[in-house]
Symmetry: C2
Subunit: 227 residues, 2 copies
């Protein structure tokens, strides 16, 4: 029986493309040139380093700002300003479709509800602020982010620590996210059930504890039938 549902944030609950665009635009404006290619390149690099566990636990967020500042030959303070500007600019369209309904369903069914999120370019405090602003924070019992806990996805520790805090076994938990390696593979490797949201169609993957959906609302059906 599933007792705890864990969600990734960016790309799963909140629209990553919108936020990333807002961040890129703010930074381009502050620096006076188009930084999009460099931001995307640094993003790929950080994701690659995480996949290979080559970043020290707790260090992925700061590293992302450092690598970007280096790439752009600019100051970290400007990157921080762009993060603040981007956070100020976004509006309610940042919430992905169906999210409110799914979180409400999970909460009403008495499951523990948490976030496990990796952090890049903007700090988790801004993600918390956005979730608070659009009234999603109230659904979550706790939020775990890689710039606050000493771990990042796909490290097992970031999945297992919350479970021990809530006294839930991996088999009683499901993690939902849109990244194959950080969310799906990471959660499966830690022994949790995993649901991959693959909005661009269903890749053919077979795993006893892993399911693929195209749309977050399908989670309601999955939870109703008990996985």
């Amino acid at each position: 029986m599933i007792k705890l549902a864990s969600f990734d944030v960016w790309g799963t609950i909140l629209d990553l493309d919108l936020m990333l665009t807002s961040f890129i635009n703010s930074l381009s404006e502050l620096i006076g040139e188009d930084v999009s290619a460099d931001v995307i390149r640094v993003r790929k690099r950080v994701k690659e380093l995480r996949r290979k566990f080559e970043i020290k636990p707790g260090g992925d967020f700061e590293l992302s700002q450092e690598l970007l500042a280096e790439k752009l030959n600019t100051e970290i303070d400007l990157i921080k300003r762009a993060a603040a500007k981007a956070t100020l600019k976004i509006d309610e369209s940042i919430i992905m479709e169906g999210v409110d309904q799914v979180l409400k369903f999970i909460k009403e069914n008495g499951l523990k509800l948490i976030i496990i999120g990796n952090v890049m370019f903007w700090p988790s405090s801004y993600t918390r602020l956005i979730l608070e602003r659009f009234e999603l924070a109230r659904y979550f019992d706790r939020q775990y982010y890689s710039d606050e806990v000493e771990a990042y996805k796909p490290m097992k520790e970031i999945f297992l620590r919350p479970l021990s805090e809530f006294r839930v076994s991996p088999g009683e938990a499901v993690h939902v996210g849109d990244s194959f390696s950080e969310d799906f593979q990471g959660a499966l490797d830690a022994g949790l059930h995993a649901v991959l949201i693959s909005r661009r169609g269903r890749p053919k993957i077979h795993h006893r504890k892993g399911l693929i959906i195209e749309n977050i609302q399908e989670l309601i059906t999955l939870l109703k039938r008990g996985f």
Copy 2:
């Protein structure tokens, strides 16, 4: 000659009482009881620990959240939610009188302009967001906060590191703030000029490099006459 002006944030540029009230109200609402006395008590304790250098460098912000959670027998996540809610609630009245005029004057006169701030209860990223939102961030060349650099006021290091980054000697810098021990004494001990904003009257203090003003606008006169 003064080449760099450094400012404390809360109580100097932004209205600490307003933010603290907003934070206390948000937290009281989340917890369901009046937390003001406990917040004030923990605040005093953290300030006392800083004054005695009994907090590990870089740890004052996290310690403040931990001590408060412990005191209230609640979760740190609720304190983080209150910090987000407080940040969302404040409006332009958070900017203290005369600030814009003073910062503009300093910038127009070619001085380097920085912030050196201690952090408690809400992270420096929220302070950056507020400064960005009300268009004060653009005045500052860099911002230094105790949750990002491995030091807090009144440690000498937090005053000296920025100076070495800007290649300015302590005698060419002035730090302005409203806390006697963290700002005034701290800056003087590090060899900087110091200006204490004492809104409740001028205490009688005599120091070759320390001046007392009642109101931030008096800085303009001080800078004009070259200290």
